[in-house]
């Protein structure tokens, strides 16, 4: 049933966020520390085990895949809800600071990625065909 997949996803997110909150409380930070990241790791792990055990049928998978494929539209909605006017009103410090930081960070990405570059760092295959399949 589709709801099994959705429920599995929901459970992973809740457990991850709860653990993230506990970590936040433990180290005295008023923020959720890595909750979403933990939820993702949990989902990866649970799906891996369930697939091995043969517990995850096609319709259950569809419940997770549906939400995964709604990702881009949700990001578009998120972009439309950002305080862009506020960012521009922040003046030159915000603009200069933000842009310089981004430029330097971009430049550092390949440097750090290269430090541990192995055979797993191979490009994914052709962009367009794969992406169409997933999101269109």
């Amino acid at each position: 049933m589709v709801i099994y997949g959705v429920a599995l996803l929901a459970a992973c997110m809740l457990v991850g966020k709860l653990i993230g909150e506990v970590i936040g409380i433990a180290i005295g930070v008023d923020s959720n520390v890595g909750g979403v990241g933990l939820a993702m790791l949990l989902l990866v792990f649970v799906v891996y085990r369930m697939q091995k055990a043969g517990w995850l049928d096609t319709t259950s998978r569809r419940g997770v895949e549906f939400w995964s494929s709604l990702y881009i539209p949700i990001v578009v909605a998120m972009a439309a809800g950002q305080n862009v006017a506020g960012a521009i009103a922040g003046g030159p410090v915000a603009l200069v600071g933000g842009l310089v930081v981004v430029a330097v960070s971009f430049a550092l990405v390949p440097v750090i990625a290269r430090l541990g570059k192995g055979k797993y760092a191979v490009p994914l295959d052709d962009l367009d065909t794969a992406r169409e399949g997933r999101h269109e």
Binding site: V29, M40, V75, A77, G81, N83, G90, G97, L99, A113
Partner: protein, 255 residues
């Protein structure tokens, strides 16, 4: 009568948002196909269009939630809010390859550290150059250069003024928004085409929104790798900002 009809649309906010975003994506995909010959992907155009619309919404209403401040589009706030966004982000982990994750793990941790410390001191130095020379100002603005969540959290913790906190949010927003727009353009130049680089990218850049938006427009399959490290960033930044980093700044500048 027109009021009652408008109520139907505004009263079904989330559904209106689905329809509006779907329409926007359709238009942007057509623009991508016919005006850019597919060179700029439709989702990148759609995200940029979303930001533009949010600017228009923000200017016309004076609010802080972009287009979502317009009553008719209030559902966008729910659709793009943290609950559904996080839900969809977690769902993208469904396609993650366990092996790739394990091999690139250490890189992600290193990227997280560099990704917080470098923007922090860079942002702080720029603040200093612009005349914000006391430790609290430099720390708050520097933390904002990490993310617009770390900025206010740090600022509040060390007693910064509300003007400073607004500035730290603004610098974080500029960063987040430019990451969304620039990522697909420079992806090739910085070899952002594999899970390992995406993991580093997520740790280097900032908030989940900037990284996720930028990667989604580059190659959607990279989103889970980047998002995974990016979600640790905010918590990690909130931890370091008001403590270690503030103490370092105070040690250098005094007071």
């Amino acid at each position: 009568m027109s009021e009652r009809l408008l109520d139907v649309i505004a009263g079904n906010g989330l559904i209106t948002a689905f329809a509006a975003v779907g329409l926007l994506m359709l238009v942007c995909n057509l623009i991508s196909k016919h005006l850019t010959a597919g060179r700029i992907h439709g989702s990148a155009i759609a995200i940029a269009a979303g930001l533009l619309l949010s600017y228009i919404g923000g200017v016309s209403t004076g609010g802080e939630d972009g287009l979502a401040d317009i009553a008719l589009f209030s559902g966008l706030g729910l659709m793009g809010g943290s609950m559904l966004r996080d839900f969809a982000i977690v769902a993208t982990a469904f396609g993650v390859d366990v092996e790739e994750l394990r091999k690139a793990g250490m890189n992600g941790v290193l990227a997280l550290l560099v990704g917080i410390v470098v923007p922090f001191f860079l942002g702080g130095a720029i603040a200093y150059a612009f005349g914000y020379t006391d430790a609290v100002s430099v720390t708050t603005i520097g933390a904002g250069a990490a993310t617009y969540i770390v900025g206010p959290v740090t600022g509040t913790a060390i007693g910064a003024s509300s003007e400073l906190i607004a500035l730290s949010i603004a610098i974080g927003l500029v960063k987040s928004i430019s990451v969304m727009i620039v990522t697909p353009m420079v992806a090739r130049a910085i070899s952002l085409n594999n899970p390992s680089a995406a993991l580093v990218f997520g740790g280097m850049m900032d908030t989940t929104s900037g990284v996720a938006g930028g990667l989604a427009a580059t190659d959607a399959r990279l989103v889970p790798y980047g998002a995974m490290t990016a979600t640790f960033y905010t918590g990690f930044g909130c931890l370091l900002g008001p403590s270690v980093l503030y103490l370092i700044v105070r040690g250098v500048l005094g007071g």
